[in-house]
């Protein structure tokens, strides 16, 4: 006689009730997996966005990360070309993007607006930012001799200035060398959006040379290092220790404040949600098994009279709870796969989060660790529920149990 076979027969004894319990376990399991899978998808998307924005690793002077610059490029790097060449020789490094960060006024002649500028290889910048810096109008153009430098404008800044691709504007800023004012004329080559409405009101991208010329510097603010594999950031930082590079290296997650805030918030929200769902599953299984235990009180008394120890009776119910849990999580996993398969075709969108101008697709990520942990939690809950409801019944006075009607 196989104990699990017997347990399965007992589970099937009241089929409708067991089916409902298994469904509750399945829906609970699927709900936790979907909710946490959505959070994981959001984390993946935000981490991708942050890593594309800052680079997987950002290299700068230590003071750049810790202090405010009193004059432009005060904490800039003059030896960026040497470091860039050194980094590009490493097989794990996919791309190195020098950036100059600056700010000032942008004017169309009638109106001047504050801007936040980035000087970089704009083609590479838009390539690395991918879907997180979308060109809405115009295109990225390479700098040309005897032509005005090109700029990409944030969509709301362009609207504010009434600028379209081909329009001429003027950038004014404080120079790095003397602290005086300098200005250059630029031509709008494209209109972009970062997905952040506040940023799109200030965003200006120009090529690195134009930015350095405007600031009268040969320094860069940062070097953004892009790796072939985001999972190798820590390992690469160790290999590129400050001793080798002579600068401070920061992984993307130390700069991704929005990512970290959302992750902290979602961890709490979905953690609480998961706890509530798990509690509901626990009480449902307890309820079902408690009814089964009451119905089988006389049987428990019989088995005890035949010589079964209380723990052997409890073990029988625990096996039944375990089987309910196993079947429940198998059904729950199947439900999750259905959700994962169906969601993309539904094209559901989440509304834009606070501060953002664009929503994002409602999708769910699957993770092996999440599967293992959730499945284990549900199975353990069902097993614990069975243990909790049967332990007193198994110790009930045998004569009373035999007399149970």
């Amino acid at each position: 006689m196989n104990h699990f076979h017997l347990a399965w027969k007992n589970v099937r004894r009241n089929r409708r009730r067991s089916l409902v319990t298994i469904l509750i376990a399945a829906v609970g399991c699927a709900a936790i997996l979907v909710a946490c899978g959505f959070a994981l998808y959001t984390y993946d998307m935000l981490s991708d966005s942050a890593a594309r924005e800052y680079g997987h690793i950002t290299i700068a002077q230590k003071a750049f990360f810790e202090q405010e610059e009193e004059t432009p490029m005060q904490f800039g790097m003059a030896d960026d070309k040497v470091i860039t060449a050194q980094l590009r020789s490493l097989p794990e490094v996919k791309e190195v993007l020098p950036r100059v960060s600056f700010s000032g006024l942008i004017s169309n002649g009638d109106k001047s607006v504050i801007f936040l500028g980035t000087g970089a290889d704009t083609a590479l910048e838009t390539k690395m930012r991918g879907p997180f810096l979308r060109i809405l109008d115009g295109k990225v153009r390479a700098p040309q001799k005897n032509a005005l430098p090109y700029v990409l404008l944030g969509v709301d800044l362009a609207r504010s200035l009434g600028a379209k691709p081909g329009a001429n504007l003027t950038l004014l800023t404080t120079t790095a060398s003397t602290g005086g004012i300098n200005a250059i004329d630029v031509e709008v080559s494209g209109i972009v959006t970062s997905g952040w409405s506040e940023l799109d009101k200030r965003l200006v991208y120009t090529d690195l040379d134009a930015a350095q010329k405007l600031l009268m510097t040969d320094r860069v603010s940062t070097l953004s290092v892009y790796l072939g594999d985001i999972e190798r950031v820590s390992e690469t930082i160790q290999a590129l220790s400050p001793d080798n590079v002579g600068k401070t290296l920061r992984p993307w997650w130390e700069q991704a404040f929005y990512y970290n805030s959302v992750k902290n918030l979602y961890n709490r929200i979905f953690g609480l949600l998961g706890f509530i769902i798990a509690t509901l599953v626990l009480f449902s299984v307890i309820n079902t098994l408690a009814m089964a235990v009451v119905e089988r009180t006389r049987e428990i008394g019989t088995l005890r009279a035949l010589g079964a120890h209380p723990e052997e009776i409890v073990a029988q119910f625990v096996r039944e709870g375990f089987l309910i849990g196993v079947v429940g999580v198998l059904a729950g996993n199947l439900l999750l796969w259905l959700v994962i398969a169906i969601l993309p075709s539904l094209g559901l969108e989440m509304p834009p989060p606070p501060g953002r101008s664009e929503g994002y697709p409602l999708l769910v990520s699957a993770s092996v660790n999440l599967f293992i942990i959730t499945n284990l939690i549900i199975i353990i809950l069902c097993t614990v529920a069975a243990w909790a409801v049967s332990r007193n019944a198994a110790r009930k006075n045998i004569v009373e149990a035999l007399g149970h009607v």
Partner: protein, 224 residues
């Protein structure tokens, strides 16, 4: 010399019903030889069920001494009493008390598994007892596929498959028609004699008492 399977000396059992103390057994003395077929009669509330429960080690007593096959059982705790039950005592209930999801074979085998026998030994013994109770072809059926008489035969097989010292039977023929009851009594007596098992049977059924070696009468917690 025929050794006593059961020896009870001045067994007292009290229950508390609220503040009232009820004496279910008032100093019962009894000696039942090994292999005997003994009936206990008495009106409802006379204490016969309590006596059988104590003899079957599913209930405790307050004072006195109980020797099962020469061994004092008072020294054993609940765990020890459970071990004695699984090795040396069988039960036959009025309502058969078979586990409905188990097959006939599994119901019988369960006792042997508890006793720690190997699968092979279990299989052999189960087949033997099924042959003896005339249910050879019904081993894979579940209790709901059997008649009342067949169910009681399974219960008898379950009680006797481990060749116990003592079988406690509570009204084993009460739910059976005359012909079936006669077959069940014959079967119990036959197997009991073969195995040398002592039967202690609570019954009101004259068909049963007619076959017993000894009929005890119980009134108000006292054996007559």
């Amino acid at each position: 010399m025929n050794m006593s399977a059961i020896v009870l000396k001045s067994i007292v059992k009290k229950y508390h019903m609220g503040t009232e103390e009820v004496h279910a057994l008032k100093g019962v003395d009894l000696a039942v030889p090994q292999g005997a077929f003994v009936a206990v009669r008495g009106p409802s509330g006379s204490g016969k069920s309590t006596l059988l429960n104590i003899c079957g080690l599913i209930d405790t007593f307050d004072s006195g001494e109980y020797l099962l096959a020469g061994e004092a059982v008072r020294q054993f705790d609940e765990r020890g009493r459970t071990l004695i039950r699984r090795q040396r005592i069988g039960f036959i209930f009025q309502s058969y008390n078979l586990v409905p999801v188990m097959t006939v074979r599994d119901n019988i085998e369960y006792s042997l598994l508890l006793a720690g026998l190997s699968d092979k030994e279990c299989e052999k013994r189960v087949q033997e007892i099924l042959d003896q109770v005339g249910l050879s072809g019904l081993g894979e059926r579940t209790p709901d596929q059997l008649s009342g008489g067949q169910r009681q035969r399974v219960a008898i097989a379950r009680a006797l498959v481990k060749a116990p010292v003592l079988v406690i039977a509570d009204e084993p023929t009460a739910n059976l028609d005359t012909a079936t009851a006669q077959q069940v009594v014959d079967l119990m007596k036959d197997l009991g004699q073969r195995l040398g098992t002592t039967f202690l049977i609570a019954t009101h059924d004259d068909r049963m008492t007619a076959h017993c070696d000894r009929v005890l009468s119980m009134t108000d917690g006292v054996l007559q």
